[in-house]
């Protein structure tokens, strides 16, 4: 297992290099630059700005270490993600601040989705073709059908503007060190974004759980367990749910990575200072430093989460062994 993890981590290096190179080339070939302004800047100013941000060198050249691309790789190897052209602040600072918020929001949405999705899916499967099954299927269909920008706007109008139960702006999570302290949370700000972000994965988890549970409940070992006289609770919790978890884990991993790395739409709708907004905004304003920083960050985050999920497979299913 250790060798497998090390091998996977080493594979991340060429993967990251390929992603960086492709992004770098694409980014510099998109029309419009970071200093293209509604009111054009005088040529001398553009020249000085290019020099300030290292854009006075060729993008890529034979003399690779004297090019923007080469400089970026050298700096990245030293852990320097550069400076945001739009805010003039270190990219790493902005990413960490944004990630601290996005990861908290994403984690809460993930927990919400897991609890609601797995519970509903399990209840549906155990009541196959019964009224509770229809409720579960209805939720999973409705949740999957509603884009979160509509759901978010809908939640704001009803629960914030009309009913006044929640706030419209910002994220109510505390600093990470106080994550487990309920009194540190501002639930007026935290609930709606979590629901807006969590409903879609909850619906998806409910569908997968239901399908997986239905399949597992038909297996011989479940019949055997019941024949042995085990209580239904033990059959479901100890034998059915655990074995039904493998396909659920398969979708949970990418979803966790997706949720904790920020959602542009939910973060924008609720004005949450997360990393998802950063990424989309940086593309719009051609903030080369931030584009590269977020791509590197997302790539590493997704690769690491996928690795963790692969390791978890082996934990959940002892039949899976990596060499």
């Amino acid at each position: 297992m250790t060798a497998y993890v090390i091998r996977r981590l080493l594979w991340m290096i060429p993967l990251l290099w390929a992603i960086i190179t492709i992004t770098f080339i694409l980014m510099h070939n998109v029309e419009g630059g970071p200093f293209s302004r509604e009111r054009p800047l005088p040529p001398a100013t553009v020249e000085n700005l290019n020099r300030r941000y290292g854009l006075d060198k060729p993008v890529i050249s034979i003399d690779v270490w004297n090019s923007q691309y080469g400089n970026y790789l050298i700096n990245l190897a030293q852990g320097d993600l550069g400076v945001s052209f739009e805010t003039d602040q270190p990219v790493s600072d902005l990413l960490w601040k944004g990630f601290a918020v996005s990861s908290q929001l994403g984690l809460m949405a993930f927990i919400f989705a897991m609890v609601i999705g797995i519970t509903l899916g399990t209840v549906s499967a155990l009541n196959h073709n019964g009224p509770l099954d229809y409720v579960g299927v209805f939720f999973s269909t409705a949740g999957a059908a509603m884009p979160n920008f509509i759901l978010g706007a809908f939640l704001i109008v009803i629960f914030a503007v009309e009913l006044g139960w929640f706030d419209v702006l910002g994220w109510g999570g505390p600093p990470w060190k106080e994550f487990y302290n309920p009194s540190a949370w501002d639930f007026r700000k935290a609930v709606l974004p979590v629901v807006a972000l969590g409903v879609l994965p909850a619906a998806y988890f409910a569908r997968i759980t239901r399908a997986s549970m239905l399949e597992v409940l038909e297996q011989d070992y479940i019949r055997t367990a019941r024949a042995k006289g085990l209580s239904e609770w033990v059959v479901v919790v100890r034998h059915a749910i655990k074995n039904a978890m493998v396909p659920i884990l398969t979708v949970m991993g990418p979803y966790l990575a997706f949720l904790i790395t920020g959602s542009f739409i939910v973060e924008s709708i609720f004005s949450i200072p997360g990393v998802g907004r950063r990424f989309v905004d940086s593309v719009v304003v051609r903030d080369y430093g931030m584009i590269m920083g977020t791509v590197v960050f997302f790539s590493v985050a997704i690769a690491v989460v996928n690795l963790v999920v692969d390791v978890l497979y082996a934990v959940v299913d002892p039949r899976i062994r990596y060499s």
């Binding site: 100013t45 914030a160 949450i272």
Partner: protein, 594 residues
């Protein structure tokens, strides 16, 4: 909120979910993966609902600043917060007249008008208690002229001796980028150019400026953000060199302030918090009464309107797509206010592209635009239709002054179009309107397209691109028709003309070239007879507007605000100088009432 009303919304929610589920079902089985005491000083009157209170927290919406460095910035939201934190030698009052701020009285001019001496008030201090001296202001000018800092508004200081030479120095003596003679920022030559910049501290309280030419607008320039002082007592600025001017940063605890407020907090993408500066000099006698100001960074104005409704915001900019409903909801003059901004939008025409080089053709296009209808169709009547380039408030003409010449007139438009056809001698090519991807921009382009089709039976294409692509194409003059415009940097007509309409102007990307304009600009540029100078620029405005030299103006823009009734000092100080927040040119007057 009654129980029944709550249930009504819950039922509405359930209904919407059912409707969406039904819609999804129909769509198949998708997995969805995926001045000291002048009449123009800021007023700080009582609110609509009672007397001003001492204290309170005000929360306002703005767009996030890109930089706090006043010697680098170019965005309105940057300038807005910078004016709250720092002030220059002078400040413009509500009538746009420069009044002493940190300066002790008016500037003194030499006999030839090329040397300007400004005395500082004595006893001024930074927010951290250190003395505010002439050297702090000198450092501010040098920072703006410094090519390494790359200040985006250096061009405003072009008349200060040596500022251009210093700013352009890294391109070397030939002035061309990337050549062998390029100077290094840490070279002795660059240091000498920095030394030669015509701003000197004569003593702790006296600053002397050397100008290339006498400049009537110089006191206005001395009120602008790029002239704000640098706290040179802080280590990183004390040790600044041309090659390393010192990082301004965004950490309020590592900066010092001489404006009415200090920065106490900043969370990127979320908010900035300000508190009163205990050492604020209060040049107009107005000091902050608030405990804190929180500036929430919100780009989406529909969301800001919701936050205003829930009470999370005390003031916000208005989403023009919701203008009518918001005016109805909040009442014109009650919580909704508007103020004419010194900005003009119009259809810009690249005069190097045929047939836009034919005056009759440009005139025909201008006369085919019904500006009243355009204003209603695109921004719900939120702007002021005009045919004048420079707004009257900045020394231009009345918005309707040239209506009879270039205003909407179908018959004249067709007549000029036919004349242009005869001159051109063949079928006109199909031109393209290059437009940004915002809903208002595309709606404008579609309106113009339909107008030309209906009035002139002339088809144009629309190309929608994102804002950066649009800006680059404009700068590179790769456009034919281009809805664009200008927002003034400082309240003088020269800011609407210089560089924009003179033949060799660096911002003249529509290639307007008129010998009469050039001759008038040459006369006006350093004319020390102020009324004559302004009249010369007014004549230029008439030529631009009536010959459509590069642009057919269609409206001056308004700022639209929602302000809570208990907010004071904001609606009273609405002015064209406002940056990004209502009355932000005099934020020291903001407060709350009972």
């Amino acid at each position: 909120m009654s129980f029944l009303k709550q249930w009504r919304y819950l039922l509405l929610a359930v209904f919407a979910i059912v409707a969406l589920a039904a819609f999804a079902a129909c769509g198949g089985d998708d997995d969805d993966d995926g001045g000291d005491d002048g009449g123009g000083t800021p007023t700080a009157t009582e609110g609509l609902s009672g007397k001003r209170i001492d204290g309170g927290d005000l929360t306002v919406q703005s767009v996030e600043f890109a930089s706090l460095d006043p010697h680098f910035s170019s965005f309105a939201q940057d300038i807005s917060i910078q004016r709250m934190l720092w002030r220059g030698l002078y400040t413009l009052d509500i009538d746009n007249v420069p009044q002493p701020s940190m300066a002790d009285g008016e500037p003194k001019l030499s006999a030839d008008g090329k040397t300007v001496t400004v005395a500082l008030k004595s006893g001024l201090t930074w927010s951290d208690g250190d003395d505010l001296l002439a050297e702090d202001f000198v450092a501010g000018f040098l920072r703006t002229c410094n090519p390494v800092n790359a200040g985006e508004y250096q061009y405003v200081l072009t008349n200060i001796v040596g500022c251009d030479d210093y700013y352009n120095s890294l391109a070397g003596p030939d002035g061309e980028p990337e050549t062998a003679d390029d100077l290094a920022a840490d070279s002795a030559e660059v240091a000498a150019l920095a030394e030669a910049v015509g701003v000197k501290a004569v003593d702790d309280l006296t600053i002397e400026f050397s100008l290339n030419e006498p400049q009537p607008t110089f006191p206005i320039i001395l009120s602008l953000w790029m002239t704000f002082p640098v706290p040179v007592h802080l280590d990183r600025f004390a040790n600044a060199t041309p090659a390393a001017p010192g990082d301004w940063g965004t950490d309020g605890s590592a900066l010092a302030f001489n404006g009415p407020y200090i920065l106490t907090g900043y969370t990127p993408q979320d908010s900035a918090t300000l508190a009163p500066n205990p050492n604020w000099a209060a040049p107009a006698g107005v000091s902050p009464t608030l405990d804190t100001i929180t500036i929430k960074f919100i780009d989406d104005l529909a969301q800001a309107a919701n936050a205003y409704r829930t009470g999370e915001l005390d003031a916000t900019d208005v989403d023009l797509t919701q203008l009518e409903s918001l005016v109805t909801e909040f009442g014109d003059g009650e919580e909704y206010f508007k103020f004419l901004t010194p900005s003009t939008r119009g259809l810009e025409m690249n005069m190097e592209k045929e047939p836009l080089n034919i005056p009759e053709f440009r005139l025909a296009l201008a006369q085919a635009i019904d500006r009243e209808k355009l204003n209603i169709a695109v921004v719900q009547g939120g702007n002021e239709p005009t045919t004048s380039w420079i707004p009257a408030v900045t020394g231009g003409h009345d918005p309707t002054e040239f209506d009879s010449v270039v205003g909407f007139d179908e018959a004249k438009a067709v007549e000029n179009f036919n004349k242009a056809k005869q001159i051109y001698g063949k079928e006109f090519p199909k031109l393209t309107i290059l437009v940004g991807d915002s809903p208002a921009a595309t709606a404008t382009a579609e309106f113009l397209q339909q107008s030309f089709k209906d009035v002139l039976a002339y088809d144009v294409d629309i190309e929608v691109v994102d804002s950066k692509t649009r800006s680059q194409r404009f700068t590179e003059e790769q456009f034919e028709l281009f809805p664009g415009g200008w927002i003034q940097d400082y309240p003088d007509p020269e800011n609407w003309i210089l560089g924009l309409f003179d033949t060799d102007g660096t911002l003249n990307h529509y290639n307007c070239s008129d010998p009469d304009i050039d001759a008038l600009v040459e006369k006006a540029r350093f004319n020390t007879n102020d009324s004559e100078r302004k009249d010369q620029y007014k004549q230029v405005n008439e030529i631009i507007s009536t010959t459509i030299c590069g642009i057919a103006p269609y409206w001056h823009e308004n700022n639209h605000w929602l302000i809570k009734p208990n907010v004071v000092g904001m609606r009273e100080n609405l002015a064209g100088q406002d940056g990004a927040i209502a009355g932000d040119w005099a934020a020291e007057a903001w407060g709350l009432s009972e």
